[in-house]
Amino acid sequence: MSIRISFDGEALEGRDGQSIGGVLLANGRRTWRTAAGAERGIFCGIGICQDCVVTVNGVEGVRACQRTACEGDVVEREVRA
C-alpha cells in the first residue's frame, strides 16, 4: 500500500510503513537539512546522530530515520546556522 506525504510543498509517494527518511531517499532526495552552511542528509540511520531532523506537521526536530511516515504528513526542511 502506498502513502503520500508532502515535502516542502511537493507531493512524494512512499510505501506504508517506511520511515520519513526512507520515503525521501526512495524519491531520490539525499539531503533535507542545512547545517553550518552545508547540506546534510541521513547519517546514522538509527536515531543516534540527529543529523536527519525535519519539521513534521509543525513540530520541529523530528528524526526522519525513526518516525514512520503517515498519509498526509507535512514535512519541511530545517536550517541550522
Binding site: 526512507g22 536515531g47 543516534i48 531532523v53 518516525r67
Partner: protein
C-alpha cells in the same frame, strides 16, 4: 512475584524477557523502536528482502515466549534510579512527538540491554550527503527497503563491513570496494593461522562464507590495511581517497588512490550505549585508562549495583549470538533463579563459545594513528560543526572548558557521535558518556512530567 523491567528489545533484551517470564517473574520490556527486535531484527514484515533476515526462527520463538510479558514500544527511557525499588522513567509515543505519555515503572530487578551504535571515525568530507554509518545501510535496507546510492564504498574495520556490503549488493547497488583497516598480517595474527576453525566453532562459518561468496560473485575488491582518508564532492559524494595505512592506522604518503562513488558507508566498530548503566552507578571497566568502556558484570550478568543486570553489547561487543546467551542468563538471574539451576547450562555454554570469537574482534580495534588523516578544518562534532583544529587547541583545558569553548558534544546528539573521537584528539577522557538525560526528550515534556514521590526508606523518616 519478582518485578523485572527490561530496557531494550533486541536479542539480549528479548532473551532476558523470555527467560525471566518463563521463570515466573512479572516482566515489562521497554524499547524506543516501534517494533521489537532491535537493530538485528529490524526487518519490516512487508518489505525486507528475506535474505537480510537472520535467525528468524529464534526471533519467532522469542516473540511467542513474550505472551505474558507487557511490551511497551515507542518508549524512550530518559531516567533511571537505583534503590529499593529500582525505578525507570519513560516517555511513550511517536518518535520526537510533542506531549508523549510519561510512565514510571518500579522493579525488583532491571536488565539493561540497550545495545550499541556504530563508532564512525571522522574523515575530511564525512558530512557530505551520501556518507552514512555502516549501520545506516543495514537499517535502511531492513527497515525501509531502500539503498542509498548506486556505487558504494564500504570502509572501516571489522567483520560487520561484510553483511553491509552484502545488503548493498542485494538491493541492486554496486559495492565498488570494501576497505578494511586491519592488515592481512594483523588479521592472520589476530584470528590465527586457521581462522576458519575459530569461525566454525562459533557457528559463523556459513554466514561468513555467504558474505565472501557475495563479494566474489560481484568481483568486489576487499582491500586490507587501507582506509578512506578523504571524501570528495560538491553537494554530495563524488569520490574517495583510499590509502594504505600503517599498523597504527597512520596514512602512508604516496599510496593514495581516487575511487569514484556516490555513497560511502563507514563503520569502525561499535560504541556501547552506557548511559543508563552510568546513571544507575554501575561500575564501568576501562573508564580510567582510556580503553574501551563496558559495564562490568559477574557470571550471572549482575552489575555492581544490586538488582541491576546487563546483557549484550554494553558488556562487550560480541554480536547477536553472544547477546542472546547473555540475555537468557540475565533474565534468569533477574527472576531470582539460583546460580546452580540447570537452566543456566545451555546459555553459559553458548556464552563461553562466543567469548572466544568476540575476543578475536579486537584484531580490528581502532589504532591511535587515525587522527593523522584529519585536517585542522575537518568537522569532528557534526552537530555543532566543531573542527579538529578548534578541539586540539583546547586539548590542555578542562573537559568542561574545552566543550564550552568549542561546543564539541553539546549539540542534539550529546556527543554520542563524536565523543570518543574528541577523546582520541585531546588524548584524555572527557566525560561525554555521562548524560543527565538518557534519550531525546523535549524540555516541555520534562517540565510536564510529574515524578511520583519516592516510596522507599527516605520518605518514612
Amino acid at each position: 512475584m519478582t518485578r523485572v523491567v527490561v530496557i531494550g528489545a533486541g536479542p539480549a533484551g528479548l532473551a532476558a524477557a523470555a527467560s525471566a517470564s518463563q521463570a515466573g517473574a512479572d516482566v515489562v520490556v521497554l524499547d524506543e523502536g516501534e517494533r521489537v527486535g532491535g537493530q538485528f531484527w529490524r526487518h519490516h514484515p512487508a518489505f525486507t528482502d528475506p535474505r537480510l533476515q537472520h535467525q528468524l526462527t529464534r526471533f519467532s520463538a522469542l516473540q511467542e515466549a513474550l505472551e505474558d510479558v507487557r511490551v511497551v514500544t515507542s518508549a524512550s527511557v530518559w531516567r533511571v534510579e537505583p534503590g529499593t525499588p529500582l525505578r525507570v522513567h519513560a516517555l511513550v509515543g511517536p518518535v520526537d512527538a510533542a506531549r508523549r505519555r510519561g510512565e514510571t515503572l518500579e522493579a525488583d530487578a532491571v536488565v539493561l540491554a540497550p545495545g550499541a551504535h556504530d563508532r564512525v571515525l571522522p574523515v575530511p568530507g564525512w558530512t557530505l550527503p551520501g556518507v552514512t554509518s555502516a549501520g545506516a545501510v543495514q537499517a535502511l535496507a531492513k527497515r525501509d527497503g531502500v539503498a542509498l546510492g548506486t556505487r558504494t564504498v564500504v570502509a572501516g574495520a571489522g567483520p560487520f563491513l561484510l553483511p553491509v556490503a552484502q545488503s548493498v549488493a542485494l538491493l541492486g547497488g554496486e559495492v565498488v570496494e570494501v576497505v578494511e583497516a586491519a592488515s592481512a598480517g594483523t588479521i592472520m595474527r589476530g584470528w590465527g593461522r586457521r581462522p576458519w576453525q575459530m569461525i566454525a566453532a562459533a557457528g559463523k562459518a556459513g554466514e561468513l562464507g555467504s558474505y565472501l561468496a557475495t563479494l566474489a560473485r560481484h568481483r568486489t575488491p576487499y582491500r586490507l590495511g587501507s582506509a578512506v582518508t578523504r571524501i570528495h564532492g560538491g553537494s554530495s559524494v563524488e569520490a574517495v581517497t583510499v590509502q594504505h595505512i600503517d599498523r597504527d592506522w597512520r596514512p602512508i604518503p604516496g599510496t593514495e588512490r581516487i575511487v569514484e562513488c556516490d555513497s560511502v558507508a563507514l563503520g569502525h566498530g561499535f560504541t556501547p550505549r552506557l548511559e543508563a548503566a552510568i546513571q544507575f552507578g554501575c561500575e564501568i571497566t576501562g573508564a580510567r585508562n582510556g580503553g574501551d568502556r563496558f559495564v562490568r558484570v559477574d557470571s550471572q550478568q549482575l552489575t555492581s549495583i544490586p538488582g541491576v543486570h546487563a546483557a549484550g553489547e554494553i558488556t562487550g561487543i560480541g554480536g547477536a549470538d553472544a547477546a542472546l546467551a547473555e540475555g537468557e542468563i540475565a533474565g534468569l538471574a533477574a527472576a531470582g533463579v539460583p546460580a546452580a539451576d540447570l537452566r543456566y547450562r545451555a546459555p553459559l555454554t553458548a556464552r563461553r563459545r562466543m567469548r572466544a570469537f568476540t575476543e578475536r574482534l579486537a584484531t580490528h580495534s581502532i589504532r591511535p594513528g587515525w587522527t593523522a588523516w584529519l585536517d585542522d578544518d575537518t568537522i569532528v562534532c557534526r552537530c555543532e560543526a566543531a573542527t579538529r583544529g578548534a578541539i586540539a587547541e583546547y586539548a590542555d583545558a578542562s573537559s568542561r572548558g574545552m566543550r564550552l569553548a568549542t561546543r564539541a558534544g553539546l549539540g542534539p546528539c550529546q556527543g554520542r557521535t563524536c565523543g570518543r573521537s574528541v577523546e582520541d584528539i585531546i588524548g584524555a577522557a572527557s566525560g561525554f558518556d555521562r548524560r543527565p538525560v538518557l534519550s531525546s526528550v523535549r524540555i516541555g515534556e520534562l517540565a510536564a512530567h510529574r515524578i511520583p514521590p519516592t516510596t522507599g526508606e527516605e520518605s518514612k523518616q
